[in-house]
Symmetry: C2
Subunit: 267 residues, 2 copies
């Protein structure tokens, strides 16, 4: 089984992705899709007059400020629209896709953060009413049920908190935890970059392979959103996934290319 995460950044079109997935499914590959919805959420937030705010943690990770209204906007854009566009596209290609979120079947459960620290102009603020957290438990029964029934699961955030609220989580790390829980052979993290770059944004500085002893070092090369992808890739391999690839979602056959090792391979 392979788990493929499609990023939600601007400029990523699901058409080539879905066409590639359809070919793999027809060839007998068992595929689980996870997707984000960052750009769609930001667009809808603008349209609704509740613009997106991004926070930077003291360790340099960025995350979306998720108040109650942002959580709803996220669910509408990501779960309501983007997830269903991927399902619709796959169905047009005769692939029997089913969209679920992390709260359906309690797939992704985790702790909602009591407080998050955000650095702004050098000052650290504490935010207490955020609906975000991390996935601590993956309950793969819903995925296994769907796959056994011949369906291709298309999974969207949010996750479910231990107290029963939807929480915004990092979809790359959730995909990694899911790949580990399913005993998947490969985790592919596809977005609008060719992989991990030694000198961002110089695409010719692509790092082709990172072996386990160098995982800690790899995070040092990453900037912004890429930090979470590197964390996700290394977490997956440490948890037993044979290899994780950070690859390019743009262009034709993005899944097949990543499966063939194009991008940055963690093993």
């Amino acid at each position: 089984m392979i788990v493929v995460k499609l990023g939600g950044a601007a400029g990523i079109e699901p058409a080539a992705f879905c066409s590639d997935i359809a070919g793999l499914v027809r060839s007998g590959e068992r595929v689980v899709i996870v997707h984000g919805g960052s750009d769609a959420t930001t667009q809808l937030a603008d349209q609704l007059g509740h613009p997106a705010v991004f926070l930077t943690s003291p360790s340099g990770h960025t995350s979306r400020r998720t108040d109650r209204r942002t959580l709803e906007i996220f669910q509408m854009a990501c779960r309501g629209l983007l997830n269903q566009k991927i399902v619709e596209e796959l169905q047009r290609l005769n692939i029997n896709a089913v969209g679920i979120s992390g709260i359906d079947g309690r797939l992704w459960v985790g702790k909602r953060k009591d407080a998050i620290r955000a650095v702004e102009n050098g000052v650290t603020r504490i935010i207490r009413d955020d609906f975000s957290g991390t996935v601590d438990t993956v309950n793969p029964a819903i995925i296994n049920t769907l796959v056994a029934g011949g369906f291709v699961p298309v999974i969207s955030p949010p996750a479910l908190s231990t107290t029963g609220e939807p929480i915004n989580i990092d979809a790359d790390r959730a995909a990694a935890a899911t790949a580990a829980a399913l005993g998947a052979s490969s985790l592919l993290l596809l977005s609008n970059v060719p992989g991990l770059l030694r000198s961002f944004p110089d695409e010719s500085s692509l790092i082709r392979e990172i072996k386990r002893p160098h995982f800690a070092q790899a995070e040092g090369y990453a900037q912004g959103r890429m930090k979470k992808k590197v964390l996700a890739a290394t977490e997956a391999v440490i948890a037993g996934v044979t290899r994780a690839v950070i690859g390019d979602a743009r262009g034709q056959s993005p899944v097949t290319r990543a499966l063939a090792g194009e991008g940055t391979v963690f093993a």
Copy 2:
């Protein structure tokens, strides 16, 4: 198995509904939930500056004008938000709910209308770019897979057209077709009315039971949205569902009350 449709009109709160469903599931009943999202869609359409337009057909049925943008708004409000709020509520009650739409697993497939006729000030207009239609085929495999796996399906429109586009369909009639395809014993159509009234809006004029020979007559009592509910109830019984109940979603234990025959029973 019972199929319960929860209406999407203003003033319907899912809390009492979900609590009642939880009790039934715990007692061993196999339940499939279908829901609408009319009010939530209208609210979001207003917020996005694309206000809802309703059309009246020459036969007196009303339907939402569904251009491409309205379809997206509908998917965001109904599939993205309302469906997931029901799932979230059921999960909090320890019921392992899974939200799907009519396009997931090709559950509801039907023909998109080439043209719809709308009467306005006595003049009939033809509209050709509407994304609406009817459910002609129910593929119950996704429901049977979920139910066999111990999950409670929560189903949201839209449906999938035969040419692969999402289409707005009537959720009451889709619930009726689903109940028939599943061989369900009961179809419950719950909304913000006590049932079919002989003299709308006089609630004391509730019709308690309508037997099959009087089905055609029943439609004559219905006004507005109720016309579709009566059509759905009669279609379900004619297709083999033992009985259909148009009942009240308001107040405590709305599902148990309808199951006990409170409302208008079609048999």
